[in-house]
């Protein structure tokens, strides 16, 4: 059903102003060179454009001075710092007062002139700066007047009211001592937002997923509490992380987690992906439920499109945490939950309803800008009175970029050679590691007929003429021939020759899939790779030692049409690739099954005319309708066998939905023989990990 929309009559046009500030280090090592840039953007531009640092939808509008304020005694220094910040912001945003009251005629990108009323709608900052902006103490909440001692509860508390706050601050400035001043945990400054029209600064303060959820709630609190609650403590958790089954999009913690001291956001996210499966079995069920509540909340908070329904789930996840958090008190790990980060979570739903989803207010965006605008600018200076030089540098950069855009528009076929610095530092690191250099990916083509295929393989199979005996012994595809014959029998275009032990096949090392865009998850297609490569032993060559590469045999989600599922996987017959295009996500879970891919190959023409790549898979037991492990809320499965014989079959690549992650069920103590590369063979029971991608989370 197409969503229907209600629209307002035209009249005035509002430009919701998004301001973001973040103090940052300009140099990587040497100490005190700092800058405090302030960025501005408007809510009229869509989030996708906002997210591309190269689109320059965020403009640098100022550098707040940084001073150690040595002319003040230590006692007053921090309060004066607050006041200085507000005075600077006041000067900076002054033009918005008149424009927001009377409107300014502006030419818009679509060619119309509108009277624009720019109004401060959102202020993106990390927690200390949020408090700075809201003029409150850092033990308080910048949005509401919750008692600092009650931050761990779900109690309702009144929002802060701007007019009231200005009034209290005004009385305080006049030497009076209003009661509310302490009740509201305020700090005596003259706020910059006092004169901004139609501005409620407190509701403008938006959640900060990176610092609050990933770093704050998950890493600093929940993960350490949960680790403490396990029987084996850190050692056990480390061992479990070390022997976690691999997946291309998963970072493997080779040394466990307790030794890691410098955490990046990618590491947080990777830890979240497997944390629940690591804990499962090792600790109290209530701890598992509490952790699941937090993880579900974090994953839901990342949704790019929310509905009333999914917001309900978001709330339910948070409730799960609160229902189970008592366990940390029972186990004497925590005495209280009066932590501002836990409290702030309460405001997520309100913000999403009023300002749109949280991905639009991520501080990760400004951190990219720092690199682009501030740090690169600093490098170009002679490090003395650098702010002034940085502004000049920036003006030059912007002029050039603007002119390039103009040229691209004015001169057809002109492409500017500007180095685009997208500032995605650290994000791609581990993907590079996993990349298979030998693969001829440039030439990969979509092997499609009339329907646009959703998978790509290398143009030519990488491994040529591999004997059946090698497939059986090196790839573990024990009953390869038997399953191949049954596949060919079902195939209408069967050739006249039957495959034998002497036949050879061309093998692929990997297939690439594209995860379909789901509005909740992402609007852009995401790549996904399924591997089937055998292990390579270590070799000593003239170029140095080549380390042994463990074999990679991906586990995948396979679509079985429901009617066929009843007859068992062996009877599944090939279908045209079209079935993939019509996956309806709601019924998807009914016909889904997990398999491990051992061989990806092309059927030689003499056996059959079937021209899509095929895979030899081992099946796992069917998924139930709902997750069967209640504490973790995950599906558990094991290898599917028939008369002590592994169930296997040959299926077309097109039936694979995407790769998935099976995490071994470690039980209460991890067997010490398990290692990451063999755990998929050693373990007997597995969790289907829903936290791998946001796609998996949405689906499972």
């Amino acid at each position: 059903m197409a969503p229907f929309q209600m629209e307002l009559p035209d009249g005035v046009t509002i430009a919701p102003v998004i301001v973001s500030s973040d103090k940052t280090q300009l140099t990587r090592f040497a100490g005190d060179k700092q800058a405090w840039p302030v960025y501005l953007s408007i809510g009229n531009i869509d989030k996708k454009t906002h997210r591309q640092p190269s689109a320059r939808a965020m403009v640098l509008i100022g550098y707040i001075p940084i001073s150690k304020l040595e002319c003040f005694s230590k006692k007053t220094r921090s309060l004066e710092g607050y006041q200085l910040f507000h005075e600077c912001m006041c000067t900076l945003l002054k033009p918005l007062i008149d424009a927001g009251t009377n409107g300014v005629d502006m030419l818009c990108a679509d060619g119309f002139i509108r009277t624009i009323y720019p109004i401060l709608a959102s202020y993106i900052a990390d927690y200390p700066e949020q408090c700075l902006v809201a003029c409150c103490k850092e033990s308080a909440c910048p949005r509401c007047i919750v008692n600092p001692k009650e931050r761990g509860t779900r109690l309702f508390s009144n929002s802060r009211d701007p007019a009231n706050t200005i009034c209290i601050l005004g009385e305080k400035a006049n030497g009076e001592n209003p009661l509310e001043f302490d009740d509201h945990s305020l700090r005596a400054v003259n706020p910059f937002w006092a004169d901004l029209p139609h501005c409620n600064i407190f509701t403008s303060i938006t959640p900060d997923i990176l610092h609050q959820l990933h770093k704050g709630v998950f890493k600093d609190h929940i993960s350490s509490w949960a680790t403490e609650s396990t029987e084996g403590g850190e050692d056990e958790v480390d061992a479990r992380f070390q022997s976690m089954s691999p997946h291309p999009s998963l970072r493997h913690f080779k040394r466990g987690i307790s030794l890691t001291t410098q955490w990046t956001r990618t590491e947080h996210k990777n830890m979240e992906k497997v944390f629940l499966t690591v804990l499962a079995g090792a600790t109290n069920p209530a701890v598992i439920r509490a952790v699941r509540g937090v993880l579900d909340f974090i994953y839901h908070a990342h949704f790019e499109t929310h509905t009333d329904e999914s917001l309900g789930l978001l709330d339910a996840a948070w409730l799960t945490f609160h229902d189970n958090k008592h366990i940390f008190e029972d186990l004497k790990i925590r005495k209280h939950f009066n932590i501002s980060k836990l409290h702030n979570i309460k405001h997520y739903i309100d913000t999403i309803r009023s300002h749109g989803t949280a991905d639009g207010f991520n501080t990760e965006g400004t951190e990219c800008l720092h690199i682009d605008l501030a740090k690169m600018g600093y490098k170009a200076t002679n490090k003395k009175e650098f702010i002034k030089q940085m502004t000049i540098w920036l003006r030059h950069q912007e002029s050039i970029q603007q002119f390039c855009l103009y040229l691209q528009w004015a001169v057809p076929g002109y492409t500017a050679e500007i180095s685009k610095n997208d500032g995605e530092v650290g994000e791609d690191e581990e993907e590079d590691e996993e990349e298979d250099e030998e693969e001829d990916e440039v030439n990969a083509v979509a092997a499609g007929d009339e329907v646009m295929e959703s998978y790509t393989v290398a143009k030519k199979p990488v491994l040529r003429n591999v004997l059946v005996t090698s497939i059986v012994s090196d790839y573990g595809a024990t009953d390869f021939l038997q399953h191949l014959s049954s596949f060919i029998d079902m195939e209408p275009l069967a050739g006249n020759v039957a495959p034998s032990t002497a036949s050879t096949f061309d093998l692929y090392k990997q297939v690439q899939f594209v995860l379909p865009p789901i509005p909740e998850v992402t609007s852009e297609p995401t790549p996904d790779v399924v591997h089937a490569t055998r292990a390579a032993p270590a070799m000593i060559t003239s170029q140095g030692i080549k380390w042994a590469i463990p074999g990679q045999f991906s586990t995948v989600l396979v679509q079985e049409s429901p009617s066929i599922a009843a007859g068992g996987p062996l009877s599944s017959k090939p279908q045209t690739s079209q079935c993939r295009s019509f996956i309806s996500l709601t019924v998807l879970s009914l016909g889904l099954r997990i398999a491990q891919v051992w061989v990806i190959f092309k059927l030689p023409a003499e056996f059959s005319q079937y021209n899509h790549p095929l895979t030899y898979v081992h099946w796992y037991t069917p998924l139930g309708r709902t997750p069967n492990d209640l504490d973790t809320n995950m599906f558990t499965i094991s290898r599917s066998s028939h008369n002590h014989h592994q169930r296997a079959s040959i299926i077309p690549v097109a039936k694979i939905i995407w790769s998935c992650h099976l995490a071994p069920k470690f039980g209460c103590k991890i067997p010490n023989t398990w290692t990451s590369s063999t755990v998929l063979d050693d373990a007997t029971r597995f969790f289907l990990n829903p936290y791998l991608h946001h796609h998996d989370f949405f689906l499972l």
Binding site: S41, A57, C88
Partner: protein, 115 residues
């Protein structure tokens, strides 16, 4: 090698000739502290705020042809179903803030140019 510019200055001069962007200005503040210096007067410190006009910047963001088709000028309420019980929230213009600002505060604004 025949470089297109004689020296850096010539290049920068050409860049400066490109259409202007919102200009940077510097406002300095004198902060008076509460610590007394050797002369018996209160210490002061000068700080510089580099800034540019946010309204000009907004003008440029709105007018940037690169954002054509990526801009929205009015709030919307989007529903997943026809009876309007499952509302969708994603971009800022789907949220309540903009909606209420336009509806409740709409009277506060003078009716402007209607494109």
């Amino acid at each position: 090698m025949d470089p297109a510019f004689h020296n850096v200055r010539a290049l920068l001069k050409r860049i400066d000739a490109l259409p202007d962007r919102p200009n940077w200005t510097c406002t300095s503040f004198q902060v008076q502290g509460d610590v007394v210096d050797a002369n018996g007067t209160l210490k002061t410190e000068d700080v510089e705020l580099w800034h540019r006009n946010p309204v000009e910047c907004i003008k440029e963001l709105l007018g940037n042809p690169a954002f054509k088709g990526k801009q929205f000028y009015a709030p919307k309420r989007v529903y997943r179903n026809a009876d309007g019980t499952n509302r969708e929230y994603s971009e800022m213009w789907t949220g309540d803030w903009w909606w209420f600002m336009q509806v409740c505060d709409g009277q506060l604004f003078e009716m402007g140019t209607n494109s």
